[in-house]
Amino acid sequence: MAIMSYIEAVTLAMREEMQRDSQVFVLGEDVGVRGGVFRATDGLYSEFGEDRVLDTPLTESAIAGVAIGAAAYGKRPIAEMQFADFIMPAINQIISEAAKIRYRSNNKWSCPMVVRAPYGGGIHGALYHSQSVEKIFTGVPGLKIVTPSTPYDVKGLLKSAIRDDDPVLFFEHKRCYRLIKGEVPADDYTIPIGKADVKREGTDVTVITYGMMVHFALQAAEQLEKDGISVHVLDLRTLVPLDKEAVLEAVAKTGKVLVVHEDNLTGGFGGEVSAIIAEEAFFELDAPVRRLAGPDVPAMPYSPTLEKEFILNPDKIAKAIRELAEF
């Protein structure tokens, strides 16, 4: 099995799917000759040509809208938003159109497209190259939302997303891109959308999270092991549809739950997870469900002092776990 980076797994999944299915094509800003500003589409232009690896004008609404039209026609477009922050001009197309095409046509039309977007901070990207935007979409029925944390999950989930018959938003944590490496099988495996994954077994406190925070939680768990605190880490992997069963199981494991995300606290997806636990696993709980998340300020600032203050890290997570353990 090859060891590769998170972003290499993104590229590999696209390459394999493009080889497998001629209906798949990629479009976005700088995805062609340049291979993407993060190099996620590196090599695809030379392999598949400019028509299937399409450099679009700088117009996100048109990127999404063209993908929607092509998907309704029968193609399987993968649209790249250069940064998740720049998905905003495309929201009307994504929420009003992609999400509702099947429902509004009574199943006569569909929109099998993937929107890929690098999100998250910690790379000195400042307010507009660091945002977590998943919460804007998690309440929109008709969209599937995937947020993988490892190269293995990236490959398996991106393939599922491309083959899915409905629109999938595929959020890639940009700090994971080169930092997170792992084994990725060469074979054509997929991971079902909607299945969470236990990334670490534990008995004292359950952490439920996704994306880069999975790694921070695992690092926190390592730290705490020395102090005899056993941490269970559930990686949601898919936010919508949520793997409720896995969530409830993870809660039952320890009775103490910390929900973590990098996104702001208020209105973040953690509230949904926490509400579900509060409603459906109330009697399993040995302590109130706690949430740990980014502060309620607009976005991550540029200055290193401020960025550091904003962003979660293993220490902050360990501290919250410890408090819960001691509850």
Partner: protein
Amino acid sequence: MKHRELGLTDEQAISMYRYMTLARRTDERTWLLNRAGKIPFVISCQGHEAAQIGAGFALDTEKDWLCPYYRDMGLVMVMGQTAQDYLLSSFAKAEDPNSGGRQMPGHFGDHRYRILTGSSPVTTQMVHATGIAYAGKLDKKDFVVLTTCGEGSANQGDLHEAMNFAGVHKLPVIFMVQNNQYAISVPLEKQVAGGSIAARGAGYGMPGVSVDGNDPLEVYRAVKEAVERGRRGEGPTLVETISYRLVPHSSDDDDRTYRSREEVEEAKKKDSLFQYRQYLLDHGLLTEESDAQIEAEIKKEVDAATDYAEKAAYPDPSETYKYVFAE
């Protein structure tokens, strides 16, 4: 005779008239039904029949695509839908082919005839049309895509992003803007800087054509040329049809608050149905008798459609939960 010069047979010229009349009579019926409290909402094509039927006749209805807007009853009829389809939708019945009663009337979508499912937020469909055309280019097909909106809607960013995208890739899209002088209450001069939508074509390297939207033959000519350009791979065309909305914006509107009755009466003198009927009479393609027969046939058709739609079943409440995703 103009229609022959344009390559239209006498039968086609009469058929155009028949479609225009069918659209008008179906539309009138929906107003009656609304005033009788039988259907909740009407949005009308009155004043647009010539533009729509003229454009529809320029298409190859066996292979071309349509991304219409809510007034396009005439266009979808040329593509294949019937008065019964329209009335099923007006009554919000389960058999409504557009949406199974889920959407308001005027929200067309019919896979049988390559009419893409539409929504309410205006002008999103212009981008989808571009995506369909791009998919056709990938597949080396020679269909064109006709997409329409009103002159108010034409100011939305989406149309510009779509025109730019289609222009860059020389896609066979016909952007047809039906300028009826008003966007609900807002008149052209408060809506369209410069007053001409057609003038915007040049900014995207495409022809921008303005035609008399009350003359189906002139519209046919302009759209036919655009279709041919598209099929030859020469790219998109912007067509602006100038006419007048003869009725209120919708059954919820009261147009007396923003335009004078004189203005409306003046416009009615240019009613395309009236003018084109005269053209056919003048050239002996229509007689008072044959016209009466057409009207009688249409009345029968619309009566039967009304009857059928009124009696048809509503969707079962359980349908509410279906088709959020593929099932």
